[in-house]
């Protein structure tokens, strides 16, 4: 990543070098290099069992890496036990100490480091997470959202170089989760500490993080800003895990300047060279992808009115569901049997009902090209499965 070279001092960078973890025959994390820039909100995103939590626990020191090193800034902490690392964790189930009240839970880290006058700091921290009133209650007397905030306060009060969050919102209901996402983001901006956040919820990762690493089967599939990952996925896994994608198996017809012309089902599609992550040689295969919301839907009768220079595909609507802000269509086309299209409900065309013949068209700039030798359905449904 760009930031690595820029901040050579790297006070709070987390640098993982060739780090891996195996349990007997099972490899939880394949050797991986990762740099989390200081002060960033970094998300490790992936389905359960992809190695994201193991990676986090290796940073915390709760898991010993099989190989590789962990650096915090310039310090090699690989051999340090967790209680000697300037890193704190917010655990998935919060792991609040049931025998201590909220005040003592938050003060725990300070007291262990031999700090005598903790009162002021603890009170300030409880104010930050809006729990000043609850200081003398036991953890089980608080709601899930409150317990979550105690867990954050208990970790943050130690001013760690890095705060690790292991699915911290997983146990909360949807509404509270949204609220806590904003809350965590606010706290991170306020304290400016590096956050490494593990989650299986792509929406959560995209809303909160500056930078997301998508993990799959013990490897980082792709690293980037949420917008970059969404617009330029480099694998079908990333394309499917972050939102929905339509894929068209195509053949490279010709290349001209910055454009690659593709042949698919008798029609031609244009793909910008910069957006193809696989090499394009004439006659070679490529997967052309496009997001459902980039596509316009026009009834076949009006096809003449579609401007020149747009990628177009014909098909027939098989399903339509009205969502409120948009309508989601499934279109059967010769190149893809279930093409998904989301249309904003601005001017609804009453003719767009199941059975109608339509033309799908979009700006060629919104097409991305992937290596055709991948499973088109990789990453489909994995996120939902885990939630259920």
């Amino acid at each position: 990543m760009k930031t690595t070279e820029e901040t050579t001092a790297g006070g709070g960078d987390v640098r993982l070098t060739g780090i891996s973890k195996t349990y007997g025959d099972f490899t939880a994390v394949h050797p991986l290099d990762l740099t989390v820039p200081e002060g960033s909100f970094f998300a490790l995103l992936g389905a359960s069992g992809c190695g994201k939590t193991t990676t986090l626990r290796m940073i915390a020191g709760l898991e010993e890496p099989t190989a590789g090193t962990v650096h915090l800034g310039d310090q090699d902490v690989t051999a340090l036990p967790p209680y000697k690392r300037p890193v704190n964790t917010v655990f998935q189930s919060y792991a609040l100490f049931p025998h201590l009240d909220i005040y003592e839970n938050v003060a725990f880290g300070l007291r262990r480091r031999g700090i005598k006058s903790v009162k002021k700091q603890v009170e300030e921290m409880l104010e930050l997470v809006q729990l000043g009133e609850q200081a003398r209650k036991k953890p089980h007397q608080l709601s899930g959202g409150q317990q979550q905030r105690v867990a954050v306060a208990r970790a943050l009060i130690n001013h760690p170089k890095v705060l690790l969050l292991d699915e911290p919102l997983g146990a909360l209901d949807l509404k509270l989760r949204r609220q806590m996402q904003l809350e965590l983001k606010r706290i991170q901006t306020e304290v400016g500490i590096t956050f490494v956040h593990v989650t299986h919820d792509q929406e959560e990762a995209m809303t909160m993080a500056d930078c997301v690493a998508v993990m799959n089967a013990g490897r980082v599939e792709q690293l980037g800003t949420p917008a970059d990952l969404y617009e330029n996925p480099r694998t079908t896994f990333v394309a499917n895990f972050l939102g929905t994608s339509n894929f068209i198996g195509a053949e490279v017809d010709s290349t001209s300047g910055d454009d690659i012309v593709l042949k698919a089902g008798g029609g031609k599609l244009v793909l910008h060279r910069a957006r193809a992550s696989a090499p394009a040689t004439t006659g070679g295969k490529i997967l052309a992808g496009v997001r459902p919301e980039k596509i316009s839907l026009t009834h076949a009768d009006d096809a003449g009115g579609i401007p020149e220079g747009r990628n177009r595909i014909t098909g027939r609507i098989t399903e339509s569901s009205f969502i409120g802000v948009s309508t989601q269509f499934v279109v059967d086309s010769p190149v893809c049997p279930d093409f998904e299209v989301y249309v904003q409900n601005v001017d609804r065309d009453a003719r767009l009902v199941p059975g109608a013949e339509v033309v799908l068209h979009w700006n060629p700039a919104h097409t991305f090209g992937l290596d055709a030798a991948q499973d088109v359905d990789a990453g489909v449904g994995t996120a939902e499965e885990e939630v259920a």
């Binding site: 709760l62 967790p82 704190n88 025998h99 009240d101 725990f108 262990r112 480091r113 007397q141 130690n158």
Partner: protein, 266 residues
């Protein structure tokens, strides 16, 4: 009709009270007869009220010595069994080792073995080893049979304990010793206390195993048994009642402390 309705409404309470009476009646008898002034040597018939025995609890020769010995043995047996049992419980819950399953079931065997058989076998063992019967053989035997109960009580508690709590403590700068003292031990404490209380009670009133392995040493249960052959001094009831009162007081105090803590927190 009115009575039937009343009875139906209160049947649970009545059943509860009857069960409680069934449980407590023997204790009432012990208490009442501690104020008796028997004619002759046997304290089996009510004669007249007196506080003689209460004013002179050690008036029977050997009684207070045996009581002291029993308390002493119970204390050390509790300490030994609680220490060993707690460590076994942690080992069984926390670690995966060879023969863990076997150890898990073997631990329960002493509870299942008929006590009198175990007592006789222990005596055989001690005799073959050439051990001198007395305080030490009794103590060894008591630690042995208390151990299973402590393991069961502590294990239940440790099993329900989230291992992430200790990880959280380590993450918050507590080293292994601090983690154990500040997190593990306080959370496991109720289980350990339950095990210790059980061990104390079992050791204090054990008769069969003790009788086989005590040699010429006399514990309180053995004293009561021995004197029952020749006559039962009222002082036995006094000691019994005193033990009962101490136990009830302990329970009341711990309940009061718990309640006050709860009220403070809320």
């Amino acid at each position: 009709m009115a009575f039937v309705t009343w009875f139906k409404r209160n049947v649970v309470v009545i059943a509860g009270l009857l069960t409680l009476a069934y449980l407590l009646l023997p204790n009432v008898v012990v208490t009442v007869f501690s104020f008796n002034r028997p004619k002759g040597r046997f304290n089996y018939q009510w004669q007249e009220f007196s506080t003689d025995a209460w004013r002179d609890p050690c008036g029977v020769s050997g009684l207070c010595e045996s009581l002291g010995l029993s308390l002493q043995i119970a204390f050390w047996a509790t300490l030994g069994a609680t220490l060993l049992g707690t460590m076994i419980a942690f080992a069984l819950v926390r670690y995966r080792f060879r023969a863990r399953g076997a150890v898990n079931s073997l631990i329960f065997l002493p509870m299942a073995m008929p006590e009198v058989v175990m007592a006789a076998s222990l005596l055989t063992l001690f005799l073959n080893m050439g051990a001198e019967l007395g305080f030490w053989t009794v103590l060894i035997a008591h630690i042995m049979f208390c151990l299973s109960f402590v393991v069961v009580a502590v294990k239940a508690r440790v099993m329900s304990m989230d291992p992430r709590l200790e990880q959280a403590a380590q993450d918050l700068y507590a080293g292994p010793v601090q983690t154990f003292l500040r997190v593990t031990l306080p959370i496991a404490a109720p289980g350990i206390a339950a095990g210790a209380l059980l061990a104390f009670a079992l050791s204090f009133d054990d008769f069969i195993i003790t009788n086989f392995n005590a040699g010429s040493t006399v514990t309180f249960p053995m004293f009561v048994w021995g004197s029952a052959q020749r006559g039962t001094p009222v002082q036995i009831n006094v000691i019994g009642t005193a033990m009962f009162v101490v136990a009830v007081l302990l329970v009341l105090v711990s309940m009061a402390v718990g309640n006050r803590r709860k009220r403070q927190k809320a």
